[in-house]
């Protein structure tokens, strides 16, 4: 029983190996980048624009809006990281409709890598926003006794992030595999559709959680403005 695309190895030289995860990731990277270049090659700055440009604008502004809603007042600063996270996970899930494709996010190595990136990015953004001293001081709040607990929470949530995405993506593949042996034909198709949906939901959850962590870290300790009474 194959759990991860890591196990499909195309080429190996000692420690270095070229497995399906990396290859499919490259494929996704190629498609995303080529598509972006292709579409943004002739960008219109007028009121009239192509459908593809319109689609990309909707995607980009949608992500931007989501980041802003999470509580990051300058979404463009985080758009590169969080947007790519979302686009990568989403495209990895959506590509499962292609036969023979294995989603790289179905590999714990990929999700761990992504979670590690978030794990590193959160303090980086926090330090950038608050300054080094102020950021690390936040680990000792309300008292220094809380320091180990804060560190544990930081690590555990990174782990949870990785496992959550991996579990969901892998389970999709697994369920289809199991169902195919029990009830072939119709039911796996329904499950595949459900898998697409859960993939999108997972992409959303993953990037939103990352955004929330970054927002929590980057929040400058200033008194928050009172919410509008009519809000």
């Amino acid at each position: 029983m194959r759990l991860s695309p890591d196990e499909i190895i195309f080429w190996q030289h000692g420690f270095i190996k070229l497995n399906a995860t990396v290859v499919f990731t490259w494929g996704l990277m190629l498609v995303l980048t080529a598509g972006s270049i292709r579409i943004t090659h002739k960008l219109s700055r007028d009121l009239n624009r192509s459908r593809w440009q319109n689609l990309l604008e909707i995607v980009v502004t949608g992500i931007e809006k989501q980041i802003e809603e999470v509580g990051l007042p300058q979404p463009r600063k985080y758009l590169g990281f969080l947007g790519t996270l979302f686009l990568f996970v989403a495209s990895a899930s959506l590509s499962t409709v292609i036969p023979g494709y294995e989603p790289p996010t179905g590999s714990l190595s990929t999700t761990a890598a992504l979670a590690l990136c978030v794990f590193v990015a959160v303090p980086l953004f926090g330090i950038e926003e608050q300054g080094v001293g102020s950021y690390f001081k936040s680990y000792m709040e309300p008292t220094f006794i809380m320091l180990p607990f804060n560190i544990i929470s930081e690590i555990s949530r990174t782990l949870a992030l990785a496992v959550r995405l991996f579990g969901n993506m892998m389970s999709g593949t697994m369920i289809i595999g199991i169902l195919l042996t029990i009830t072939p034909f119709l039911f796996p198709i329904v499950m595949a559709m459900l898998g697409l949906l859960t993939g999108m939901v997972q992409a959303y959850i993953f990037s939103i959680l990352a955004a929330v962590y970054i927002a929590a870290a980057a929040r400058v300790k200033t008194p928050r403005p009172e919410p509008d009474s009519d809000g």
């Binding site: 890591d6 190996k17 980048t33 972006s36 960008l43 700055r45 502004t61 990929t110 992504l114």
Partner: protein, 254 residues
Amino acid sequence: MLIDWFTVGAQALNFLILVWLLKRFLYKPILNAIDAREKRIATELADADAKKAEALQERNEFQHKNEEFDQQRKALFSKATDEAQAEREKLLDEARQAAAALLAKRQETLRNDEHNLWQEISRRTRQEVFAIARKTLTDLAGANLEERMVAVFVRRLSELAAAEKALLTTGLKASVSPVTVRTTFELSSTQSAAVEDAIRETLDLETPIRFETSPDLIAGIELTTNGHKLAWSIADYLVSLKHGVDGLLAERER
């Protein structure tokens, strides 16, 4: 082993590369395009706002000018109306005055004409009446009449009141010129003698007496010296009649 650490590193690297690639080729151009478009729209909106404000200002200005013009026009119109009214009243007044003057003049003329006509008629009538009377009396006058006249004259002379007689006497005596007795016809010697006698007797007169004829008297006899006159003549009667008639007419005219 679920986690292959080489793959983790490779995937992390892949992800970072993808972040850079998408930043370079997707987010930046798209955001730039959006920004440019928004800027352009903002510019256009601002431009439109400016134009709108300008238009509004121009409209206000125009409206203001229009109102001013209206007011000016109204003022001018009312001024012209007032002036025309005043002019009209002035002209009407003048016309009324002129008409009144003309009417008065005409009435005056009419009254004058009427007066003149009436005077002319009365004068003519009088003249005719007197001419007829004179003619008749002249026709009737003769020697016998003269005789009667002399008799009457003598009688009147004798019948004069004492005061009157004294007045006449002093007047006649004081005068240097001779006393003249005028008659219509030449008196016969007896008649003239009788007259002379009566005068001398009555008035106690020494001065010579001269006899003259004067057809104006129609029929009568008249004693004159400078400033004094004693006379009886039909002309006198006619004159007094004329005076009476004239007085009556004058009274009626008034």
